[in-house]
Amino acid sequence: MAKQIITLTVNGDEHELAVAPYQTLLEVLRDELDLIGTKRGCTAGSCGVCTVNGEQGEAVLSCCTLAVDWNGRSVTTVEGVQEGTELHPIQKKFLEHGAVQCGFCTPGLVMSAKALLDVNTSPTERDINEAMAGAICRCTGHIKVKIAIREAAKALREREGAG
């Protein structure tokens, strides 16, 4: 099957890649670009561990997205979240509040949370539940994750206020 040359910007870096139409964005990120922070879970859109952020910062399930559809567009993966040498407030708060157990779902949770907090730094409980419903943790649970997100929102608000 003929491969197609696409231009894909990942975390600000532009890549020219030859991909087959049936390759998903997840496969290209992990297998071609070695960005293995984005996890391969159910590969059927149910678990959210493959979540990356699209051009508007929206949550994208990379396992259910064709890489060729992303030609000329940009994505952010968990490798692109930290700010210089500093972790992003979401990452910091996940660490601080122990919102991680085995860590496999963490990249997906962080990217799902970032999709929310990038557009809304004062989320209600309902907003958080809605944004995180598609990202599942099967070991530590969601209580600490939600605490971390609320705290990260607070940190982001303080930063906005200071700026």
Binding site: A44, G45, S46, A59, S112, N129, A133, A135
Partner: protein, 327 residues
């Protein structure tokens, strides 16, 4: 799971896409968000030779207010776009709540209204991995004339899980099917077949291009029960619309979804409320009639007894809420 091989066609215009569909007929499959189709393809339930995506066609991504106050929604509008529309929420709460209830935010970001209307039917026997299916016999949905869920069935009973369908039916929506030969418009109540394999009237070469909703005339509501609020397909859905007062309604439409291959218009329940209005007694009677209309069989993960109880509760609660919405 990896996708099977296919050839990808991404037309720049609607006309170009319709031409591709005409050319490849049944070998072509239409993809919009891919949130359901790509998964079915990974499960090898769908292995199209050609995949045609209309994602580059801008006109399909527009929502417009029509001069008469109704709305036209392009098939490519995402469910996030619909759920975020204040106009849709004000005018058609049933549709707004229906699309908002689909999957997760992640899924709604990709899924489109056209894709949700055309959503393939699902069955707990067939919607499994290829390996799971290999160890068992085929069925109507794959390759044999047999149903393993309902042994005596003469047809496929896979369930239509479209959340938007019951709501659009209650709102009196029509759909426009485009093909290289032209367009046809039909009421969405005529769009579904009561057969899990051939579940819509759409022919090869046709594409659901847009949905038209008449101006709002009354109150509407949507209710859904699923194992979890996020992600799961419904165990049962119910949409209701009423024009006029509770005491003497001018028109009533009640539709059950996710209990069979097509959304079910509850004629008997409608008759009860049209005849005697919306009150405690008629709500109870309408809920019982809805339950009775389901028959004994089920294709849900749960026993038919559960489905019958679920439907009664769903209809009763939603009609009570609809009654209280009277201005």
């Amino acid at each position: 799971m990896q996708l099977p091989e296919f050839e990808y066609i991404r037309p720049k215009s609607l006309a170009e896409g319709l031409q591709a569909l005409a050319e490849h007929g049944p070998d072509a499959q239409i993809m919009s968000g891919g949130s359901d189709l790509l998964i079915n393809m990974k499960f090898r339930l769908d292995t199209p030779k050609y995949l045609v995506s209309f994602n580059d066609v801008a006109e399909l991504k527009a929502m417009e207010t029509l001069p008469d106050g109704g709305m036209q929604i392009g098939a490519g509008c995402t469910l996030t776009q619909l759920a975020g529309s204040g106009e849709l929420e004000d005018k058609y709460p049933a549709l707004h709540d229906a699309v908002f209830s689909v999957g997760s935010k992640h899924v709604r970001n990709a899924a489109t209204i056209g894709g949700n209307i055309c959503l393939d039917t699902r069955c707990w026997y067939t919607n499994q991995s290829e390996h799971w299916r290999e160890t068992r016999d085929g069925c109507f949905k794959t390759d044999t004339e047999e149903c393993h869920v309902i042994k005596t069935a003469a047809k496929c009973h896979a369930i239509n899980s479209s959340d938007s369908a019951p709501a659009l039916m209650v709102l009196g929506a029509t759909v426009v099917l485009a093909s290289a030969k032209g367009e046809r418009e039909l009421p969405i109540v005529e769009f579904y077949n009561d057969d899990g394999v051939d579940h819509t009237v759409m022919q090869p070469g046709e594409f659901l291009a847009r949905v038209l909703i008449p101006p709002p005339t009354g109150r509407s509501i949507y209710a859904k029960l699923a194992q979890r609020d996020g992600l799961d397909f419904a165990s049962g859905t119910f949409a209701a619309g009423i024009v006029g007062s509770n005491e003497s309604p001018e028109s009533v439409c009640l539709v059950m979804g996710s209990v069979g291959p097509a959304p079910k218009v509850l004629d008997k329940s409608i008759e009860i409320i049209m005849g005697q209005g919306l009150n405690d007694d008629t709500i109870e009677a309408a809920a019982l009639a809805a339950r009775a209309s389901l028959g004994e069989v089920t294709n849900l993960f749960t026993p038919s007894g559960y489905k019958r109880r679920l439907v009664k509760a769903l209809v009763k609660d939603a009609l009570n809420e609809l009654r209280d919405k009277e201005a």
